[in-house]
Symmetry: C2
Subunit: 195 residues, 2 copies
């Protein structure tokens, strides 16, 4: 007779916060990784189990054989969602930063998680602003045809309809956006951390 | 200027043990999940961050579209290895229980990790014994042709050449095997936990 595995409740009983997935979606250059990286540092310093799952990093490993067709993008998001689910099950606050262009794919991840474990953060800056920033020079390449199937230019992006947070990174400072994130997440993990 | 993400060393500094991947390989019925489950409980009770990555569970999620051809098995093991790497990077002691039949694929995972992070555990029982046990009734189905490409029967299994641990589950009791695991892992995490 086998004892059961360590349960989710045993894990969160120890670390005093639930597993969560904070899903940052938005155009390239909107500020997903910037915000997620700063939030990771903040939560870590407060004693949380936190892990940043970055889309670019996943494409070097788990998703290394996938390209940028719609089908491959969907599979990329699906796999990221599965890994996020495993990490949340292990008790982590997962900060997933991926363009994740399609609404349906993000909703599938929400449904795959326990209720209230999914926080969709729309990192929201208009295409023109992201294109002006063009931190990685990708928009330039997309416009000149060096990159095909680029989100917002030659591949679709479906903004969230009811995200838990909508952060206008073109109108607010990084600090203001982070404050909004801190307040929201603190409220979500409070019931457990206050036990 | 962005601060860097939380580093691996910051994580292990807090939890006082390194991220590790303990990879249980062996035939179906050899005892991989049994041993990994008991080890998970043991390490959790000792305060470790530990997570069981079970091959059967992965096939319901991350690897749900994969079958049992050699190519699909290899992709299955590759993805499991990538997830194990992410969890080890997050500071977990990952217990991965997968048949993982091919030597080359297991070695690739070892190489992908930081040195000394990979512990290969050969859960070693002869085919005849696993077939006698036949806990899930799968050998019977394989022999009667209801299941094709079954490891050890109609699909290859390459035993490890130099596993860190070789546990003869046909000759030793579960308790004896677990004691060997406990001693080995305790030694591997000691340099950090003793800081």
């Amino acid at each position: 007779m086998l004892p059961s595995c360590v349960t989710y409740f045993e894990r969160i009983g120890r670390q005093r916060h639930p597993g969560l997935v904070v899903w940052f979606t938005g155009l390239s250059g909107a500020g997903k990784t910037t915000l997620a990286t700063l939030l990771e540092r903040h939560l870590f310093q407060r004693g949380c189990l936190v892990y940043l799952l970055d889309g670019d990093a996943l494409r070097l490993g788990l998703c290394s054989e996938l390209g940028y067709s719609i089908a491959d993008r969907r599979e990329n998001v699906r796999r990221a969602g599965e890994v996020a689910r495993i990490l949340a099950d292990a008790g982590f606050i997962v900060l997933a930063a991926l363009i994740s262009p399609l609404r349906q794919d993000r909703e599938r991840i929400r449904i795959s998680l326990a209720q209230a474990q999914f926080i969709e953060v729309f990192v929201n800056a208009p295409l023109e602003i992201c294109e002006q920033r063009d931190v990685k020079g990708l928009y330039q390449k997309a416009r000149t045809g060096l990159i095909s199937e680029f989100t917002g230019v030659s591949s679709p992006y479906e903004p969230p309809l009811n995200p838990e947070l909508n952060l206008r990174t073109d109108l607010k400072s990084v600090k203001e956006c982070l404050d909004q994130l801190h307040i929201y997440i603190a409220a979500r993990i409070a019931p457990v951390s206050g036990q």
